[in-house]
Symmetry: C2
Subunit: 230 residues, 2 copies
DNA sequence: CCCATGCTTCGATCGCCATCGAAGCGTTCG
DNA sequence: CGAACGCTTCGATGGCGATCGAAGCATGGG
C-alpha cells in the first residue's frame, strides 16, 4: 500500500469535462452562480448542482450564499495555483481544447490568473521587479525589498492596507503559457487593480483576457522596461 | 466554448486509482516493468497494460524496450513536477490515502522526487544554497553563481560533465510535504548521487524514502547549516 | 524446435457515475 | 399570500470504462 497524498481523488474531480469547464470558468476570480456555471459547462442546473457539491466536498470550491443566489468561487490561491500548474503540463504535453483560436494570442499576452496578471505581460512585470531588486528570493520565499516598497507606494498602492490581510504579500505562480513565474499574492492583485484604475487595461467580458489600451501598453512597457517582451 | 489547455484529459488520466498508483510508484525515477506496475496498482497485467497505453498516449509515461521486458518511466521532469504540485494540493486539502503511517515521517524528512532530494532535507539544502548566494534567482530562473560552482566542484561534482546534457542545471520544484521549493535539475540529481556515493544516505527498498545514516546526517547538517531544520 | 516468460489484444461483463425530468424547498418580489 | 426564481434532492436511465479470462505475439532459453 502506498502512502502520501491522494492524487486520484483530485484527478477524478478535475477529470470530468463538465467539472473541468466549471473550474476553468472560475480561474478568473469571479464568483458565479450555479446556473451560470451550468451554462459554462454545458449541462443542466441539476447536473451542475451535483458537480458543485462534489467540488466543494473535495475542497476545490467554496460556496457563498447571497440572497437567493449561491455563488461559487475557487477556494484558495493554492487551488488556483495547482490548476494553473496542471494547465502548464497540459499545454506542454500538447493537449489543447480547441484549435488555437483568435482569442488565444490575447490570452497569451495578458490574462487574469485568479486575481493577478498572467501571460507575457505578467512574466515581464515579474522579471523586471526581480531584476531591479524590488523583489528578492530568499529562503525559498519571495519578499518585497525596501526599494520595492518605495516603488509600490509611488505607484499608488497602499501597502499598509494590504498587509492587514493574512494573505502573503508576494507569491510566485507558474505561468502556463510562458512556463515561467509571474507575481501572485496580495501585491500581485493590487498591481492588477491599479492597472484597471489607471485605465491601462480592462477585463474583456466573459473571458480571462486582460485588454491593454494602446496608451496603457506604452506606459506599462515604460514602467517595466528591463525585460524584453517575446 | 473555452480555449486553453485541456485539464480534463490529464485529470481523468490521473483520476483513476490504478493509474494514480502507477504514477506514484514511478515518482522515484525508476523504470518498472508492466508486471511490477500491475502489482503496485493492484490489478492484473491485462488491466495494467491498458492503463499504461493510455498514460503513454497522454504523454505522461514513456516506454522503453529492453530484451523481452518493457520498462516504463515518467516521461519528463515537467510531468513529475506537475504531479508533485498536485500532491501538494492534495496534502493541503487534507486528502491522504492512508492514515499517517510509520513510513510517513521518514518520507517527510527525506525522499526521492524523480531523481533529486525532497522533503525537509531537500528544502534545507535549497535554503542554504540560496541564502549563501550559491544559487541566484534571476529573471524567474535559477542559476548557479561563481561561488556555487566552486562549492559544487569542491563537493566532487563534475560540472562540465553535467553541462553536456541538455537538461537545465538548476530548477525549483515545489515540495508537497513542506510546501516550499527544493532543488531539481541536473545539479539536484548530481547532489543526491553524491550523497549515495559518500554513503551519507541510501535508498530504502521499494519506497521513496532516502535513509540518512547518523554520520551522514551530521555531515549533511554541517554542510548545509544555514537553515534550521523544522 | 518447443516451451516459458512478458506483454498486448479481444471480448464479455459489470458497476459506477453523469445526465436529466420531476418534485421539493427556500428566497424574493409584487 | 401567491407566483416566479434559484437551487437541490430524488429516481430512473444510459453509457462509458475498468476489469479480467482467454487467446495472440513476440522474445529468449534450453
Amino acid at each position: 500500500m502506498k502512502t502520501g497524498p491522494d492524487i486520484a481523488l483530485l484527478g477524478s474531480l478535475i477529470g470530468d469535462p463538465a467539472r473541468a469547464n466549471i473550474l476553468t470558468a472560475l480561474m478568473d476570480r469571479r464568483a458565479l452562480t450555479a446556473c451560470e456555471l451550468a451554462q459554462e459547462a454545458g449541462v443542466t442546473p441539476q447536473t451542475a448542482s451535483s458537480h458543485l457539491a462534489k467540488l466543494i466536498a473535495g475542497g476545490l470550491l467554496s460556496p457563498e450564499k447571497q440572497g437567493r443566489h449561491r455563488y461559487f468561487r475557487i477556494s484558495d490561491e493554492e487551488v488556483a495555483s495547482a490548476l494553473e500548474a496542471l494547465m502548464g503540463l497540459a499545454a506542454y504535453a500538447g493537449h489543447r481544447r480547441v484549435r488555437t483560436g483568435p482569442r488565444d494570442p490575447a490570452m497569451r499576452e495578458a490574462r487574469v490568473c485568479y486575481d493577478h496578471l498572467a501571460g507575457d505581460r505578467g512574466v515581464q512585470m515579474f522579471d523586471h521587479l526581480t531584476r531591479r531588486g524590488m523583489i528578492s528570493y530568499e529562503e525559498a520565499e519571495l519578499s518585497l525589498t525596501q526599494k520595492g516598497q518605495r516603488f509600490a507606494e509611488d505607484f499608488g498602492i497602499d501597502l499598509d492596507a494590504i498587509r492587514t490581510t493574512r494573505r502573503p504579500l508576494c507569491k510566485a505562480c507558474l505561468d502556463w503559457s510562458v512556463r515561467r513565474n509571474h507575481l501572485a499574492g496580495a501585491l500581485g492583485a493590487a498591481l492588477l487593480d491599479r492597472f484597471y484604475v489607471l485605465r491601462w487595461a480592462r477585463r474583456e467580458k466573459d473571458s480571462r483576457v486582460v485588454a491593454f489600451s494602446r496608451r496603457g501598453a506604452e506606459q506599462f512597457d515604460a514602467l517595466f522596461a528591463t525585460a524584453t517582451r517575446r
